[in-house]
Symmetry: C2
Subunit: 151 residues, 2 copies
Amino acid sequence: MYFSAKGEYGIMAVLDLALTKGSAPVQAKAIADRQGFPLRFLEHILSALKHAGLVESERGAHGGYRLAKPASEIRIGDVIQAVDGPIAMPARALPRLRNGNGHRTSHGSLVQGVWEEVKASVLETLNRTTLADLCRRARDLEEKRVLMYHI
Amino acid sequence: MYFSAKGEYGIMAVLDLALTKGSAPVQAKAIADRQGFPLRFLEHILSALKHAGLVESERGAHGGYRLAKPASEIRIGDVIQAVDGPIAMPARALPRLRNGNGHRTSHGSLVQGVWEEVKASVLETLNRTTLADLCRRARDLEEKRVLMYHI
DNA sequence: TCTTTTCCTATCGGAGCAGTAGGAATTAAC
DNA sequence: GTTAATTCCTACTGCTCCGATAGGAAAAGA
């Protein structure tokens, strides 16, 4: 099973956007620096997030990105699908596993059924967590960190 | 997200073993012909299944493969993990996402948490279906097919 | 006009996967 | 004991996809 790194970058990027307070848009450069991944690559991911309607952007000097909706309305599954495309199983097309009509063999369709179940459960898992949930967890983590420091 | 074709081949192979009645071992060639995939490749998959203790083999003329346990004790998740290795998310290691100590950044660990949840739900889904379940579904399907034919 | 930033398109290098190949080891049949 | 059938081991190949890079156009503020 495979989730791409893009998905990981994507989640961290929107999380960064959500946690960066202030009304000014956040520049890609700032995110790249904070999270430590390559600017040019992050641009692609932000572009995908924008086309999916999850973030919006302002061009030009002092431009940047901001969330297009409240964090509570952005589900992690949305982020993943925005950057990775629809989740497919198996990812690589296997023409060999289909007969002439493009249909599956009888055993093949049973396997297909299993894939459907897995896909559904993954989506359910990803969609029950929103960006707001992650923000909450991030704040809890930070709080704990500060507490530890003061002992 | 990604599942390899090997997993698909693997499931179909053990399903073939389970549905082929008779006490004689089933030859790889026979499975390859029935399911329509390449013999040499199937050999690799059967080898992995054997090393995982899911099938056993007899060498030499009239040799072949058989299930090592009753179908009701073989979970689909076992098959997948046998041929694909442990499911990892994301699959490709991204050193960039770890800091000097090999640890994740704070945001990174939150994402890690999400991956853990997904992984758990996938395993749960894969493991609640056994090979015996698939056999049952296969028979139901066949029954329906025959019924349709007689109308 | 100059700088900063997003945005679009194209390309590259490496990794991993589906599939192939050769041949050794083992067993049955004759 | 020779031959045929079959599993088994190791290595290789070709291709696709992904992470990452690059160049430069478009937009907006100074």
